[in-house]
Symmetry: C2
Subunit: 326 residues, 2 copies
DNA sequence: TATTATGGTGAAAGCGATTTCAACGACAGG
DNA sequence: CCTGTCGTTGAAATCGCTTTCACCATAATA
């Protein structure tokens, strides 16, 4: 492996000069030229490990996600990856498989390991999380949850759910049911349900608490909850779900119970899943700019790292949403 | 930041002893105990950067994928991540956004940067790719394509497509069309089409070359190709697609042209997408163990790295498949 | 002419681990 | 008593880069 010293010798300069050449310090034109040629000749590439040890920066960003194979998450990571690549960083991906304590584990791992910053695609934020985030030695940006005192990029789930509820209340005749997710997930659990309830109430069609079920983000859980709902309350005519994935499950359940194609106008979701939209022609749902949230969060993080002072810095950013098919 | 020397001083030993303690070298029981306590007391964690510089190993694996937000890829990465986590490695993810030259770029980047090995979720393998893989300084395993002389984990797309074609030929009455992808993607493009054609032929119902279209892996491209097919050849009664995603697009096209719900028994795909299956009740498709391929490839790579000699080493591994809903 | 900038330069000091190496005490065998 | 072996040990040499620092020309200013 050719090292900096070799290049320096070949070019007849000191390695300090080579380093300066590489990092844009004082260097005369002719030496720069000689160094450039020596580098080309030898095919030298600098060891990022030595560099990392010396500078303390690895140009690595840790990204913690709850589940890699989910459309929303993969769109977010696509956005993160875009920015990272453009700005000369790389992504260290950690998948927690929906286990919130593995988030903590990785938060810990990443600090003592080689990352310059962290993007956490958050689900549940416990006190332990808050503490871990607080005491994190590298900058960290959250996506998907709004946490006081932490930098975050999120969507206003309450407001979106409110609008969806209000819009649906008018269009649906008959009873509306709701399949949510755990309220420990503040955004997708608590905010969406509360917002939806408030929206329905505002439109004069409050949600019957007996018609609320809990799913677990999966298609099957949506299916199961819907089947149960349909047999417990056969007069339900619409099932709103906290995610498009669960909505797909509910759709299948309705189709099974009431005949194929019936479900399509009887469920709503969150997330504007492309598959779902194509296959159903579009159920009522909320479109979030997932890719954008990845982009924004990463830019925010990298700005902080690269010391772009500007107006920005680590802060909180609420992104817009869009009601679809209502 | 507490470093090894601090721990050593506190424990009254040399840092060499601490290092040996950490790495399992000669150390007496009482010193080991003292070191252990000193570490606990100080909360010492060793700098992976210094370690990487000294040992030349970073415990990082580069993973190159064509597109992060696709179900197959995210299942593969889920598998990769599982094994990596279990075996003490971390994943450096690179997303090429379907640009094969960015694969080369990353292959290059990863070699001179800090990875111990590479998993390449491959699409098109050009000669340049072959050369890059050949000359790669770290071990590399391919997923999804069979390349002579390289370690790879793949599925037999030809055989699977053949079986699907043969099975469908009997069940479908009327003309069958095919929407494929670029043949530069040997597995998903060339092999699937060839196998499918051969399967139909074997069942005495050969594919009309005029009914073949080319998509680009996206839902929209499947939709577009199907629309075009349906108007160019209105007597087509079945559209086989090279991916489930394109099949979803074709489904929408058929529904639009011939009425809702019509498409469901008139398309087939590859990949056994969960959404598609739930929403349609299941179109004919091929189930691949994507997660398994990630797991197997990663184990293979890590075995090679960790010097597990065994029967294994870098080799090629063909995984099975399963016809669904035929 | 005597100063002070100013653009360039290389020697050398780390960054924080791992690993070689020589050495040491103790103890067994000859 | 001498020698060899065994289990341990710490000093010191790297790993490959960045960065300070002192220093040197040369040009600009007083």
């Amino acid at each position: 492996m050719v090292k900096m010293k070799d290049v320096a010798e070949l070019a007849g300069v000191s390695s300090a000069a080579v380093s300066r050449y590489l990092n844009g310090g004082y260097i005369s034109a002719d030496k720069a030229e000689r160094i450039k040629q020596a580098i080309e000749l030898t095919g030298y590439v600098r060891s990022s490990q030595a560099r990392a040890l010396r500078t303390g920066s690895t140009k690595l960003i840790g990204v913690i996600v709850p589940k890699i194979n989910s459309e929303s998450v993969s769109r977010i990571t696509a956005g993160i990856g875009q920015v990272l690549g453009r700005r000369g960083y790389q992504m260290l991906l950690a998948n927690t498989d929906n286990a919130p304590d593995r988030e903590l584990e990785y938060l810990d791992l990443f600090q003592n390991h080689p990352v310059d910053g962290i993007v956490l695609v958050a689900t549940m934020i416990t006190d332990e999380h808050r503490r871990a985030i607080e005491s994190c030695r590298v900058p960290i940006v959250l996506i998907g949850q709004h946490v006081e005192g932490a930098a975050c990029v999120y969507h206003d789930d309450y407001e979106a759910a409110f609008e969806l509820g209000r819009a649906l209340a008018g269009r649906v005749d008959g009873k509306i049911a709701y399949i949510g997710v755990t309220e420990e997930d503040r955004a997708a659990g608590y905010d969406r349900r509360r917002g939806f309830e408030a929206g329905l109430r505002a439109a004069g069609n409050p949600l019957d608490a007996a018609l609320i079920r809990l799913g677990s983000f999966t298609l099957d859980s949506g299916y199961g909850a819907a089947r149960e709902l349909l047999s417990a309350a056969p007069d339900v005519s619409f099932i709103a779900c906290a995610t498009d994935t669960m909505a797909a499950g509910a759709l299948r359940a309705i189709d099974e119970v009431r005949g194929m194609g019936e479900g399509i106008h009887r469920v709503s979701g969150f997330g504007d899943n492309a598959f779902l939209s194509a296959l159903t022609g579009g159920i009522p749902t909320v479109h979030y700019g997932y890719l954008t949230s990845g982009v924004e969060a990463t830019n925010m993080l990298l700005d902080a790292l690269d010391g772009v002072e500007g107006e920005g810095g680590l802060r909180t950013l609420k992104l817009g949403h869009q009601l679809m098919n209502v």
